[in-house]
Protein backbone atom coordinates (compact mmCIF):
# COMPACT_ATOMS: atom_id res chain seq x y z
CA UNK A 1 0.00 0.00 0.00
CA UNK A 2 2.74 2.42 0.93
CA UNK A 3 4.66 1.75 -2.30
CA UNK A 4 1.54 2.30 -4.38
CA UNK A 5 0.87 5.59 -2.68
CA UNK A 6 4.47 6.70 -3.22
CA UNK A 7 4.30 5.84 -6.92
CA UNK A 8 0.92 7.55 -7.20
CA UNK A 9 2.00 10.90 -5.67
CA UNK A 10 5.13 11.02 -7.75
CA UNK A 11 3.44 10.21 -11.05
CA UNK A 12 0.55 12.55 -10.39
CA UNK A 13 2.87 15.38 -9.45
CA UNK A 14 4.98 14.86 -12.56
CA UNK A 15 1.84 14.88 -14.68
CA UNK A 16 1.58 18.64 -14.11
CA UNK A 17 4.70 19.00 -16.24
CA UNK A 18 2.96 17.22 -19.09
CA UNK A 19 0.45 19.37 -21.04
CA UNK A 20 -3.10 17.92 -20.84
CA UNK A 21 -5.93 18.37 -23.30
CA UNK A 22 -9.06 20.01 -21.92
CA UNK A 23 -11.37 17.75 -19.88
CA UNK A 24 -8.93 14.84 -20.11
CA UNK A 25 -8.12 12.86 -17.01
CA UNK A 26 -5.21 10.49 -17.18
CA UNK A 27 -4.68 7.48 -14.99
CA UNK A 28 -1.26 7.55 -13.33
CA UNK A 29 -0.24 4.42 -15.25
CA UNK A 30 -1.14 5.99 -18.62
CA UNK A 31 1.19 8.99 -18.39
CA UNK A 32 3.86 8.89 -21.04
CA UNK A 33 7.17 10.26 -19.85
CA UNK A 34 9.28 12.30 -22.26
CA UNK A 35 12.28 10.20 -23.22
CA UNK A 36 15.19 11.17 -20.97
CA UNK A 37 16.65 7.70 -20.46
CA UNK A 38 15.75 7.74 -16.80
CA UNK A 39 13.61 5.16 -15.13
CA UNK A 40 11.48 5.69 -12.04
CA UNK A 41 11.06 3.00 -9.47
CA UNK A 42 10.24 2.65 -5.80
CA UNK A 43 12.65 0.95 -3.50
CA UNK A 44 12.30 0.06 0.14
CA UNK A 45 14.90 1.08 2.69
CA UNK A 46 16.15 -2.35 3.72
CA UNK A 47 16.77 -1.28 7.31
CA UNK A 48 13.62 0.71 8.05
CA UNK A 49 11.15 -0.62 5.48
CA UNK A 50 10.23 2.94 4.47
CA UNK A 51 9.84 3.28 0.68
CA UNK A 52 11.44 6.00 -1.40
CA UNK A 53 11.52 6.98 -5.06
CA UNK A 54 14.59 6.20 -7.14
CA UNK A 55 15.44 7.68 -10.54
CA UNK A 56 17.92 5.42 -12.22
CA UNK A 57 19.60 5.27 -15.59
CA UNK A 58 18.30 2.19 -17.39
CA UNK A 59 21.39 2.20 -19.65
CA UNK A 60 23.89 2.34 -16.78
CA UNK A 61 22.18 0.97 -13.67
CA UNK A 62 24.10 1.32 -10.44
CA UNK A 63 24.24 -1.75 -8.28
CA UNK A 64 26.24 -0.55 -5.31
CA UNK A 65 23.30 1.08 -3.55
CA UNK A 66 20.83 -1.67 -4.36
CA UNK A 67 22.52 -4.21 -2.14
CA UNK A 68 22.01 -2.46 1.17
CA UNK A 69 22.61 -4.42 4.34
CA UNK A 70 19.23 -5.92 5.15
CA UNK A 71 19.89 -6.67 8.82
CA UNK A 72 17.09 -5.11 10.82
CA UNK A 73 18.35 -3.82 14.14
CA UNK A 74 16.72 -1.78 16.83
CA UNK A 75 17.52 1.94 16.60
CA UNK A 76 20.68 2.68 18.59
CA UNK A 77 20.28 4.25 22.00
CA UNK A 78 23.24 6.51 22.71
CA UNK A 79 22.73 6.22 26.47
CA UNK A 80 24.73 3.04 25.97
CA UNK A 81 27.84 5.21 25.65
CA UNK A 82 27.57 6.22 29.32
CA UNK A 83 30.21 4.67 31.47
CA UNK A 84 28.12 2.27 33.54
CA UNK A 85 25.47 1.45 30.97
CA UNK A 86 25.78 -1.82 29.08
CA UNK A 87 24.30 -3.00 25.83
CA UNK A 88 21.89 -5.17 27.76
CA UNK A 89 20.55 -2.19 29.70
CA UNK A 90 19.33 -0.48 26.54
CA UNK A 91 18.48 -3.63 24.60
CA UNK A 92 21.18 -3.19 21.98
CA UNK A 93 20.95 -5.92 19.35
CA UNK A 94 23.25 -4.49 16.68
CA UNK A 95 26.63 -5.66 15.45
CA UNK A 96 29.65 -5.86 17.76
CA UNK A 97 33.31 -6.80 17.59
CA UNK A 98 34.51 -9.67 19.68
CA UNK A 99 37.86 -10.35 21.26
CA UNK A 100 37.00 -14.06 21.35
CA UNK A 101 38.84 -14.75 18.10
CA UNK A 102 42.07 -13.38 19.60
CA UNK A 103 41.85 -15.86 22.46
CA UNK A 104 40.97 -18.69 20.09
CA UNK A 105 44.13 -17.99 18.08
CA UNK A 106 46.22 -17.82 21.25
CA UNK A 107 44.80 -21.09 22.52
CA UNK A 108 45.40 -22.75 19.15
CA UNK A 109 49.02 -21.74 19.07
CA UNK A 110 49.52 -22.71 22.69
CA UNK A 111 47.98 -26.12 22.08
CA UNK A 112 50.21 -26.68 19.03
CA UNK A 113 53.19 -26.39 21.31
CA UNK A 114 54.34 -23.00 20.04
CA UNK A 115 56.88 -21.07 22.06
CA UNK A 116 55.81 -17.86 20.37
CA UNK A 117 54.79 -14.83 22.36
CA UNK A 118 50.96 -15.06 22.31
CA UNK A 119 49.62 -16.79 25.41
CA UNK A 120 46.20 -18.21 26.24
CA UNK A 121 43.42 -16.45 28.10
CA UNK A 122 44.01 -18.26 31.39
CA UNK A 123 47.45 -16.69 31.67
CA UNK A 124 46.61 -13.02 31.40
CA UNK A 125 43.27 -12.15 32.95
CA UNK A 126 44.88 -9.01 34.37
CA UNK A 127 46.13 -7.96 30.97
CA UNK A 128 42.66 -8.64 29.59
CA UNK A 129 41.25 -6.16 32.07
CA UNK A 130 43.66 -3.43 30.95
CA UNK A 131 43.15 -4.56 27.40
CA UNK A 132 39.42 -4.06 27.83
CA UNK A 133 39.99 -0.46 28.79
CA UNK A 134 42.73 0.31 26.29
CA UNK A 135 42.04 -2.13 23.52
CA UNK A 136 45.52 -3.68 23.60
CA UNK A 137 46.07 -7.39 23.75
CA UNK A 138 49.80 -7.90 23.49
CA UNK A 139 52.72 -9.95 24.67
CA UNK A 140 52.89 -9.20 28.37
CA UNK A 141 56.67 -9.02 28.54
CA UNK A 142 56.99 -7.01 25.36
CA UNK A 143 54.20 -4.66 26.37
CA UNK A 144 55.85 -3.98 29.70
CA UNK A 145 59.24 -3.35 28.14
CA UNK A 146 58.27 -1.38 25.04
CA UNK A 147 54.57 -0.51 25.02
CA UNK A 148 54.40 1.03 28.48
CA UNK A 149 56.34 4.23 27.74
CA UNK A 150 54.72 4.74 24.31
CA UNK A 151 51.29 4.37 25.83
CA UNK A 152 52.15 6.93 28.45
CA UNK A 153 53.20 9.43 25.74
CA UNK A 154 50.05 8.84 23.73
CA UNK A 155 47.87 9.12 26.80
CA UNK A 156 49.45 12.41 27.87
CA UNK A 157 48.87 13.90 24.42
CA UNK A 158 45.10 13.76 24.88
CA UNK A 159 45.10 14.06 28.62
CA UNK A 160 43.99 17.65 28.70
CA UNK A 161 40.93 16.82 26.70
CA UNK A 162 39.91 13.47 27.99
CA UNK A 163 40.60 14.05 31.66
CA UNK A 164 37.54 16.24 31.79
CA UNK A 165 35.35 13.89 29.80
CA UNK A 166 32.26 13.23 31.87
CA UNK A 167 31.16 9.70 32.60
CA UNK A 168 28.33 10.25 30.21
CA UNK A 169 29.30 10.60 26.61
CA UNK A 170 29.95 13.70 24.56
CA UNK A 171 28.50 14.27 21.12
CA UNK A 172 28.91 17.37 19.05
CA UNK A 173 28.62 18.45 15.45
CA UNK A 174 29.43 21.51 13.42
CA UNK A 175 29.34 22.71 9.85
CA UNK A 176 31.26 25.31 7.89
CA UNK A 177 30.27 26.86 4.58
CA UNK A 178 32.88 26.73 1.82
CA UNK A 179 32.82 29.86 -0.31
CA UNK A 180 33.29 28.83 -3.91
CA UNK A 181 31.78 29.33 -7.35
CA UNK A 182 31.32 26.14 -9.30
CA UNK A 183 28.70 23.79 -10.70
CA UNK A 184 27.98 20.06 -10.68
CA UNK A 185 29.95 19.28 -13.82
CA UNK A 186 33.12 20.98 -12.63
CA UNK A 187 32.93 19.27 -9.25
CA UNK A 188 31.90 15.74 -10.14
CA UNK A 189 32.16 15.15 -13.86
CA UNK A 190 35.28 16.96 -15.04
CA UNK A 191 37.32 16.10 -11.96
CA UNK A 192 36.85 12.33 -11.92
CA UNK A 193 40.22 11.88 -10.26
CA UNK A 194 38.99 13.72 -7.16
CA UNK A 195 38.30 10.54 -5.21
CA UNK A 196 37.18 10.50 -1.56
CA UNK A 197 40.03 10.51 0.92
CA UNK A 198 40.70 7.19 2.58
CA UNK A 199 42.86 7.25 5.68
Amino acid sequence: MKMNSVIAWFCLSVSFAVPLRANEVLDAREITMPPSGAQVMVRENSKTGKPYVVITDSQNPRTDLASLDSNKYRRPDYRMLEKNVTAKDVGYDGPYSSKKKIYILAATLATAGATAAVVGPALFPAAAATGAAGGSVAVPAAAAAVGGSALAVAAKKYQDHFQNLPDDYSRESESKIIETETDFYKMFVEKKTNKPFQS
Binding site: S36, I55, A87, G94, A112, A133, L151, D183
Partner: protein, 201 residues
Protein backbone atom coordinates in the same frame (compact mmCIF):
# COMPACT_ATOMS: atom_id res chain seq x y z
CA UNK B 1 63.60 -37.06 21.63
CA UNK B 2 66.82 -35.05 21.69
CA UNK B 3 67.13 -31.34 22.25
CA UNK B 4 67.63 -30.56 18.59
CA UNK B 5 64.39 -32.26 17.59
CA UNK B 6 62.55 -30.50 20.41
CA UNK B 7 63.89 -27.13 19.25
CA UNK B 8 62.88 -27.83 15.65
CA UNK B 9 59.37 -28.81 16.70
CA UNK B 10 58.97 -25.70 18.86
CA UNK B 11 59.72 -23.47 15.87
CA UNK B 12 57.79 -25.53 13.33
CA UNK B 13 54.26 -24.73 14.43
CA UNK B 14 54.68 -20.95 14.72
CA UNK B 15 56.21 -20.88 11.25
CA UNK B 16 53.20 -22.75 9.90
CA UNK B 17 50.81 -20.18 11.29
CA UNK B 18 52.94 -17.11 10.56
CA UNK B 19 51.99 -16.61 6.86
CA UNK B 20 48.35 -17.11 7.70
CA UNK B 21 48.49 -14.57 10.49
CA UNK B 22 50.43 -12.02 8.45
CA UNK B 23 48.06 -12.28 5.51
CA UNK B 24 44.92 -11.86 7.55
CA UNK B 25 46.15 -9.98 10.54
CA UNK B 26 43.13 -7.79 11.04
CA UNK B 27 40.66 -10.61 10.48
CA UNK B 28 42.25 -12.79 13.11
CA UNK B 29 43.70 -10.24 15.48
CA UNK B 30 41.93 -6.93 15.49
CA UNK B 31 38.63 -5.17 15.47
CA UNK B 32 36.19 -4.93 12.56
CA UNK B 33 33.74 -2.20 13.41
CA UNK B 34 30.40 -2.31 11.53
CA UNK B 35 27.98 0.32 12.83
CA UNK B 36 24.23 -0.46 12.93
CA UNK B 37 23.64 2.07 10.12
CA UNK B 38 20.39 3.38 11.60
CA UNK B 39 19.50 6.82 12.91
CA UNK B 40 18.47 7.10 16.53
CA UNK B 41 15.00 8.25 17.59
CA UNK B 42 16.52 11.64 18.47
CA UNK B 43 17.05 12.52 14.81
CA UNK B 44 13.39 12.50 13.80
CA UNK B 45 12.52 14.25 17.05
CA UNK B 46 15.07 17.06 16.66
CA UNK B 47 15.14 17.65 12.90
CA UNK B 48 11.88 19.02 11.45
CA UNK B 49 10.62 17.81 8.10
CA UNK B 50 10.59 20.40 5.30
CA UNK B 51 8.17 20.40 2.37
CA UNK B 52 10.58 20.33 -0.53
CA UNK B 53 11.31 17.88 -3.37
CA UNK B 54 15.00 17.13 -2.98
CA UNK B 55 17.14 14.65 -4.88
CA UNK B 56 20.21 13.02 -3.43
CA UNK B 57 23.11 11.83 -5.55
CA UNK B 58 25.71 9.65 -3.86
CA UNK B 59 29.06 9.51 -5.71
CA UNK B 60 30.65 6.18 -6.58
CA UNK B 61 32.66 4.42 -3.93
CA UNK B 62 31.06 5.93 -0.86
CA UNK B 63 29.81 2.62 0.45
CA UNK B 64 33.34 1.18 0.33
CA UNK B 65 34.94 3.93 2.43
CA UNK B 66 36.90 2.36 5.30
CA UNK B 67 39.54 3.55 7.73
CA UNK B 68 42.29 1.65 9.50
CA UNK B 69 43.16 4.55 11.81
CA UNK B 70 43.78 2.83 15.15
CA UNK B 71 44.43 5.99 17.10
CA UNK B 72 47.79 5.18 18.65
CA UNK B 73 50.79 3.20 17.46
CA UNK B 74 50.35 0.46 20.06
CA UNK B 75 46.64 -0.09 19.67
CA UNK B 76 45.07 -3.22 18.21
CA UNK B 77 44.44 -3.08 14.48
CA UNK B 78 41.03 -1.59 13.84
CA UNK B 79 39.01 -1.31 10.63
CA UNK B 80 36.10 1.09 10.60
CA UNK B 81 33.53 0.41 7.86
CA UNK B 82 32.27 3.95 7.69
CA UNK B 83 30.77 4.02 4.20
CA UNK B 84 28.76 0.88 4.84
CA UNK B 85 26.79 2.72 7.56
CA UNK B 86 27.00 6.22 6.08
CA UNK B 87 25.08 5.45 2.88
CA UNK B 88 21.91 3.99 4.44
CA UNK B 89 21.97 6.63 7.18
CA UNK B 90 22.34 9.39 4.58
CA UNK B 91 19.31 8.09 2.69
CA UNK B 92 17.32 7.74 5.89
CA UNK B 93 18.26 11.25 7.05
CA UNK B 94 16.94 12.77 3.82
CA UNK B 95 13.79 10.64 4.00
CA UNK B 96 13.26 12.08 7.45
CA UNK B 97 14.22 15.68 6.62
CA UNK B 98 12.19 16.22 3.44
CA UNK B 99 8.62 15.30 2.52
CA UNK B 100 9.53 14.47 -1.09
CA UNK B 101 12.83 12.67 -1.27
CA UNK B 102 14.22 11.17 -4.48
CA UNK B 103 17.39 9.13 -4.75
CA UNK B 104 19.12 9.94 -8.03
CA UNK B 105 21.15 7.03 -9.26
CA UNK B 106 21.42 8.52 -12.75
CA UNK B 107 23.93 11.31 -13.21
CA UNK B 108 22.03 14.58 -12.63
CA UNK B 109 21.34 16.78 -15.62
CA UNK B 110 18.99 19.73 -16.18
CA UNK B 111 16.59 17.60 -18.25
CA UNK B 112 15.99 15.16 -15.42
CA UNK B 113 15.69 18.01 -12.92
CA UNK B 114 12.99 19.78 -14.93
CA UNK B 115 11.18 16.63 -16.04
CA UNK B 116 10.66 15.45 -12.48
CA UNK B 117 10.27 18.97 -11.04
CA UNK B 118 13.09 18.52 -8.56
CA UNK B 119 13.91 21.68 -6.59
CA UNK B 120 17.50 20.80 -5.78
CA UNK B 121 20.02 17.99 -5.91
CA UNK B 122 22.38 17.33 -3.04
CA UNK B 123 25.71 15.53 -3.35
CA UNK B 124 27.33 14.34 -0.13
CA UNK B 125 30.51 12.37 0.43
CA UNK B 126 32.81 11.37 3.25
CA UNK B 127 36.03 13.36 3.34
CA UNK B 128 37.92 12.19 6.40
CA UNK B 129 37.80 10.08 9.52
CA UNK B 130 39.82 10.42 12.73
CA UNK B 131 40.18 8.07 15.65
CA UNK B 132 41.38 9.83 18.81
CA UNK B 133 42.09 7.08 21.24
CA UNK B 134 43.58 6.92 24.72
CA UNK B 135 43.45 4.24 27.39
CA UNK B 136 40.25 5.43 29.04
CA UNK B 137 38.37 6.99 26.14
CA UNK B 138 37.84 7.17 22.42
CA UNK B 139 36.75 10.03 20.19
CA UNK B 140 35.65 9.49 16.60
CA UNK B 141 35.32 12.32 14.04
CA UNK B 142 33.54 11.92 10.72
CA UNK B 143 34.03 14.70 8.18
CA UNK B 144 31.81 15.09 5.14
CA UNK B 145 31.52 17.57 2.30
CA UNK B 146 28.17 18.39 0.76
CA UNK B 147 27.14 20.52 -2.19
CA UNK B 148 23.61 21.70 -3.03
CA UNK B 149 22.71 22.50 -6.65
CA UNK B 150 19.60 24.08 -8.16
CA UNK B 151 17.65 22.83 -11.19
CA UNK B 152 20.29 24.20 -13.56
CA UNK B 153 22.95 22.41 -11.51
CA UNK B 154 24.44 25.69 -10.36
CA UNK B 155 25.87 25.67 -6.86
CA UNK B 156 23.62 27.00 -4.11
CA UNK B 157 25.74 26.06 -1.11
CA UNK B 158 28.83 23.98 -0.36
CA UNK B 159 29.80 23.07 3.18
CA UNK B 160 31.78 20.74 5.39
CA UNK B 161 30.43 18.99 8.45
CA UNK B 162 32.01 17.26 11.40
CA UNK B 163 30.27 14.77 13.61
CA UNK B 164 32.04 13.76 16.83
CA UNK B 165 31.28 11.18 19.46
CA UNK B 166 33.45 10.66 22.55
CA UNK B 167 32.94 8.05 25.22
CA UNK B 168 34.83 6.08 27.83
CA UNK B 169 35.23 2.34 27.81
CA UNK B 170 34.00 1.75 24.28
CA UNK B 171 36.34 -1.21 23.81
CA UNK B 172 35.15 -2.79 27.05
CA UNK B 173 31.48 -3.00 26.26
CA UNK B 174 29.66 -5.00 23.65
CA UNK B 175 28.76 -2.76 20.73
CA UNK B 176 30.52 0.26 22.23
CA UNK B 177 32.75 0.90 19.22
CA UNK B 178 29.90 0.37 16.80
CA UNK B 179 27.51 2.73 18.57
CA UNK B 180 30.25 5.34 18.98
CA UNK B 181 30.85 5.24 15.21
CA UNK B 182 27.11 5.41 14.54
CA UNK B 183 26.83 8.48 16.76
CA UNK B 184 29.65 10.28 14.95
CA UNK B 185 28.07 9.59 11.55
CA UNK B 186 24.67 10.74 12.79
CA UNK B 187 26.20 13.97 14.06
CA UNK B 188 27.59 14.85 10.66
CA UNK B 189 24.28 13.98 8.97
CA UNK B 190 22.37 16.15 11.42
CA UNK B 191 24.43 19.16 10.30
CA UNK B 192 24.09 18.14 6.65
CA UNK B 193 20.30 18.06 6.68
CA UNK B 194 20.03 21.32 8.65
CA UNK B 195 22.35 23.10 6.22
CA UNK B 196 20.44 21.82 3.19
CA UNK B 197 17.13 22.89 4.72
CA UNK B 198 18.59 26.32 5.38
CA UNK B 199 19.98 26.61 1.86
CA UNK B 200 16.58 25.84 0.31
CA UNK B 201 14.57 28.39 2.31
Amino acid sequence: MNHRQQAERSFFYPLCFLPFVLCSCVAIYGWNIHAPGLLSDEFARDIPQVSKRVALYIPEGQKEFISKDKGTRWSDPQTYYIGEAFVPMLIESFQSGFTEFVLLEALPNPEIMSQYAIDAVVVSEIKDFKNRKTLPAQGLDVYTETAVFNRDLKLIRRFETRGTSEAKGTFAKKGGLEVNLNAAIEGSLRETVLQVQDALK
